[in-house]
C-alpha cells in the first residue's frame, strides 16, 4: 500500500518535472546579479507561462513582494510553496462514496478524457469491492458507446446503453432503474462532450440531470467536470458555464503527464474553489489519483 502511494507520487513528480523547471528553473538560473524587482517579474512570467493566469500570478507575486525583504533563494521558494499550498489546500477534498447507489455524472468539453476517466474510476471502485454500473450517455460521438463497453469489460462491470443517436435522458433513466434493481453501489454516467457555449447542449445536460434526480432522490451526488491539464485560461470559462448549468461539485484534471503545466488548477482553485477530486498522471488503468495539495506543490516547485 505504502509502496503504491510512493510510486504514485513519483509519477506525479515525473509528470510535473517540466513545470517545476518552468517555475523555479528560470528564477534560479538568474538569481545572481539581478534586483529583487527583476526577480519577481521573472517569477510572475514563469507563473503566467505555467497557465496560472495573469490575475492569480499577480496576486502571488504581490504577496511575495510584501514579505520578502532580501532575496534569499530558499525563503522565496518556501513562501511560494506555502502560498500555492494555501490556495490548493482549500480544494483538496477527495470524493466520498457515502450513498447507495452513488451517482456520478461526468461532464466536460470534447476530448478532455471523460470516457477514459470513467474507465479508470470504474476499475478503481470495482477493485475496492464495490459494484459499479456504467451508463453510456454519450450517444452522439461515433463509437463512444463501444469505447465505454471496452472499459466496462476491463473493469468487469455492466454497461447500460441504447443505440447510437438515442436520447441520453433515456439512457440515464434505464441506468438509474438498473442500478436500483441491482443494488449497485456506484453508477457512473458518461455524457457527450460539449462545448460549454452551446446553449442547446447545456440544456440537454440539465434534462439528463433532471431525469437522474427523479429516479434516485438527491442524485446525481457528484457532477464531475473533467478538464484537460493542457487547457489554458479557457478552463475557467468551462468550469463557470458548466457550473451555472448543472452545478459542478468536483473536478478531475487529466493528462498531467505531458508537459502541460497544470497551473490552471491554481487559477481554478483560487477563483472558483470547486473541489479537485482526481488527477490523471498517465495512461495506465490506475494512473488516476486522489488530488493531494502538498504532493502537488512539492512536485510543482
Amino acid at each position: 500500500m505504502f509502496k503504491r502511494l510512493k510510486a504514485g507520487f513519483e509519477s506525479l513528480k515525473a509528470g510535473l518535472t517540466r513545470t517545476h523547471n518552468a517555475i523555479m528553473g528560470s528564477v534560479e538560473s538568474t538569481l545572481t546579479g539581478v534586483s529583487r524587482e527583476v526577480l519577481l517579474e521573472r517569477l510572475e512570467e514563469s507563473l503566467i507561462s505555467s497557465d496560472v493566469g495573469v490575475r492569480t500570478s499577480a496576486e502571488i507575486v504581490d504577496r511575495l513582494r510584501s514579505v520578502l525583504a532580501g532575496w534569499d533563494n530558499e525563503k522565496l521558494k518556501q513562501h511560494l510553496k506555502s502560498y500555492i499550498y494555501d490556495i490548493l489546500k482549500v480544494v483538496e477534498k477527495p470524493l466520498e462514496i457515502n450513498k447507495s447507489p452513488f451517482v456520478i455524472m461526468v461532464l466536460g468539453v470534447n476530448g478532455v478524457g471523460k470516457t477514459t476517466t470513467i474507465g479508470k474510476l470504474a476499475s478503481r471502485y470495482s477493485s475496492e469491492g464495490k459494484s459499479v454500473v456504467l451508463a453510456a450517455g454519450d450517444t452522439f460521438r461515433a463509437a463512444a458507446i463501444e469505447q465505454l463497453e471496452g472499459w466496462g469489460r476491463r473493469a468487469g462491470c455492466p454497461v447500460i446503453k441504447q443505440a447510437h443517436g438515442g436520447d441520453p435522458g433515456a439512457v440515464a433513466f434505464d441506468a438509474m432503474k438498473a442500478a436500483v434493481a441491482r443494488r449497485a453501489d456506484v453508477v457512473i454516467l458518461d455524457t457527450a462532450g460539449r462545448l460549454h457555449t452551446k446553449v442547446n447542449l447545456m440544456e440537454e445536460l440539465k434534462k439528463v440531470k433532471k431525469v437522474v434526480s427523479r429516479e434516485v432522490p438527491d442524485a446525481p451526488h457528484e457532477n464531475l467536470l473533467v478538464l484537460d491539464a493542457s487547457t489554458g485560461q479557457n478552463a475557467l470559462n468551462q468550469a463557470k458555464l458548466f457550473n451555472e448549468a448543472v452545478g459542478v461539485t468536483g473536478i478531475a484534471l487529466t493528462k498531467l503527464d505531458g508537459t502541460a503545466k497544470g497551473g490552471i488548477i491554481v487559477a481554478i482553485a483560487g477563483e472558483l474553489k470547486i473541489p479537485i477530486r482526481f488527477i490523471g498522471v498517465g495512461e495506465g488503468i490506475d494512473d488516476l489519483r486522489d488530488f493531494d495539495a502538498s504532493d502537488f506543490v512539492e512536485a510543482l516547485i
Binding site: D51, V54, N110, G111, Q147, N200, Q233, N234, K255, G263
Partner: protein, 443 residues
C-alpha cells in the same frame, strides 16, 4: 468565438480613438491593455512580448502620431501586426504523388479522428478521391469511430481488421490505394505526447513508409501556454507541414493560433468549427485578424452560402417572388437551406459588430425557433401551405396540436409570412432602386 478578445480590443481601441491625438503615454497605456488581453487569451508569453514591442515601434512612428486619425492608425497597426503574426497568406494543402498521403498527428483528445473524416469530406467535395486509413490502435474503439464516420460521409475506409501494428497498416493501405486508384490517403494516428520518445519514433517510421506530402498537427484551440512546446516537439521529430485548429466554435480566445504559427513557422491550414462532419474551414489569417478586432467575416459567410445554396432553387425562388407565388412550402425550403449553413449563432458571428450588439442587448439566440417553424409548416396540408388564406381557427388549432406548439405560435408564423409577402410585393414594385429606401425604413 474569440469574442472576449475582440471585446477587449474594441474597448481599448475605443479609448484610444477617444483621444484626439495619440501621445506616447496613452499608447503605453493601450499597449499594456493589449498585452493583458493577449495573455488572458493564452497567447504564449514570449510571443506577446515580441508582438507588443513590434506594435510599439510602429505605433510610435510618425505615421501614426502625426496622422489626422491616430486612433484608426493605431487600429490598423494592431490589425496588420496581428495578420502578420497569423501568417499573411492563406496556405492550402500541397499534395504530391499518387496517392498523396496526409498524416494527422497530435496529442490525445485534440480531435484527430474527427478531423480526418472532416478533411476527407472537404477533399471529396473538391472532386478528389480520398481513402481513410485508421492507424490508431491504442485508444479503445478509435478504429470503429473512424469507420463509422467514414461511412457517414460515404468515403472508403481501409479495413485494418486483425492487423497488429500501424506500420503494417500503412504499408498495406498504400498498396490497396495504389490498386484501387485513390488519389489521397488520410492516415489517423494515435494521440501521443511529444515527450514520449517510443511513440514519437513510431511516427517517424510511419512517415518513412508513407512519405506524406502533408503532416498536419491537430491542436485544440483551447490549449494554454504549452501549445507552442507541443507543436514544436512534433515539428522537431517528424517535421509538420501545417496546423489544424479544432474546437474553434467555443469561446476559446484563440491564443494558441497566434503562438503556434509564430514558434513553428508552420501555417495554420484549417479550423474545425463544429461537431458535424462538414464543419471545417480553410483558415484565412487576415479574416481572423479582422474577427479578433470584430470587423466581421462577411467573406466566409458569402463563401459558405455559395457552397450551400442550390443555384437552381435560388432561380426558382426568384421567379416565385416575381410572380407573387411564394408559398409557405417555399418558406420552409428557405429555412432548410439556412439551416445547412450552420447554427444561427455561427452565421451571425460573421457579421461585423454582431458580438458588440449581442453584449449590449443580451441577445439570446434560440436555435430551436427554426425547428419550431418547420414543425408548424410540416403539420399543414399541402393545400394549406400553398393557400394559407384558408387557415381558419379550427385548422390553426389542429396545426398547433400536430406540431406541439401553441395557436399563438401558428398565428405568429402566419403573420410573419404575410409581412414577408408584403415586403416582396413592395420590392417588386420599387425595383432595384427602391431597395435602399425600403431598408432605411426598416432600420
Amino acid at each position: 468565438m474569440l469574442e472576449s478578445l475582440s471585446e477587449k480590443f474594441r474597448k481599448i481601441l475605443r479609448d484610444v480613438r477617444g483621444q484626439g491625438t495619440l501621445s506616447e503615454s496613452n499608447i503605453q497605456e493601450a499597449l499594456k491593455e493589449v498585452r493583458l488581453a493577449l495573455l488572458e487569451a493564452d497567447v504564449n508569453f514570449t510571443v506577446v512580448k515580441d508582438f507588443i514591442s513590434s506594435v510599439r515601434e510602429k505605433a510610435m512612428g510618425k505615421d501614426v502620431l502625426e496622422s489626422l486619425t491616430p486612433g484608426q492608425q493605431f487600429t490598423k497597426v494592431v490589425h496588420d501586426e496581428l495578420t502578420n503574426l497569423l501568417g499573411g497568406e492563406d496556405a492550402g494543402l500541397e499534395l504530391k504523388g499518387r496517392p498523396a498521403a496526409i498524416m494527422l498527428v497530435g496529442l490525445q483528445g485534440s480531435g484527430k479522428t474527427t478531423t480526418t473524416a472532416k478533411l476527407a469530406l472537404h477533399l471529396k467535395k473538391r472532386g478528389r478521391n480520398p481513402y481513410i486509413v485508421p492507424a490508431d490502435l491504442f485508444r479503445l474503439a478509435a478504429v470503429l469511430q473512424l469507420k463509422k464516420l467514414a461511412s457517414e460521409v460515404k468515403i472508403d475506409c481501409f479495413d485494418s481488421e486483425g492487423m497488429q501494428n500501424p506500420p503494417d497498416i500503412c504499408r498495406e493501405a498504400l498498396r490497396v490505394a495504389g490498386i484501387k486508384g485513390y488519389d489521397i490517403i488520410l492516415v489517423d494516428t494515435a494521440g501521443r505526447l511529444h515527450i514520449d520518445s517510443g511513440l514519437m519514433d513510431e511516427l517517424k517510421t510511419l512517415k518513412d513508409i508513407l512519405r506524406p506530402s502533408e503532416i498536419l498537427f491537430v491542436a485544440d484551440s483551447m490549449t494554454g501556454q504549452d501549445a507552442v512546446n507541443t507543436a514544436k516537439g512534433f515539428d522537431d521529430v517528424v517535421g509538420i507541414t501545417g496546423v489544424v485548429l479544432t474546437k474553434f466554435d467555443g469561446d476559446a480566445r484563440g491564443g494558441a493560433a497566434l503562438s503556434m504559427r509564430v514558434t513553428t513557422g508552420k501555417p495554420i491550414k484549417f479550423i474545425g468549427t463544429g461537431e458535424k462532419v462538414d464543419c471545417i474551414e480553410v483558415f484565412h489569417p487576415s479574416r481572423l485578424a479582422g474577427r479578433i478586432l470584430d470587423m466581421g467575416d462577411i467573406l466566409t459567410l458569402v463563401e459558405k452560402a455559395q457552397s450551400t445554396f442550390d443555384e437552381k432553387q435560388a432561380q426558382e425562388l426568384q421567379q416565385k417572388i416575381k410572380k407573387d407565388t411564394f408559398t409557405l412550402e417555399d418558406f420552409k425550403n428557405q429555412l432548410q437551406q439556412i439551416k445547412k449553413l450552420g447554427s444561427i449563432e455561427s452565421i451571425l458571428s460573421m457579421i461585423p459588430g454582431f458580438s458588440a450588439m449581442k453584449q449590449a442587448k443580451d441577445v439570446k439566440i434560440d436555435e430551436k425557433e427554426l425547428s419550431r417553424v418547420e414543425a408548424i409548416i410540416n403539420s399543414m396540408t399541402m393545400e394549406e401551405r400553398t393557400n394559407p388564406s384558408i387557415l381558419n381557427a379550427s385548422r390553426r388549432q389542429r396545426i398547433a396540436r400536430g406540431s406541439g406548439t401553441k395557436v399563438s405560435d401558428v398565428n405568429k408564423l402566419i403573420n410573419q409570412y404575410q409581412d414577408m409577402r408584403k415586403m416582396m410585393k413592395k420590392l417588386k414594385k420599387a425595383g432595384p432602386r427602391g431597395l435602399k429606401g425600403l431598408f432605411q425604413n426598416r432600420m
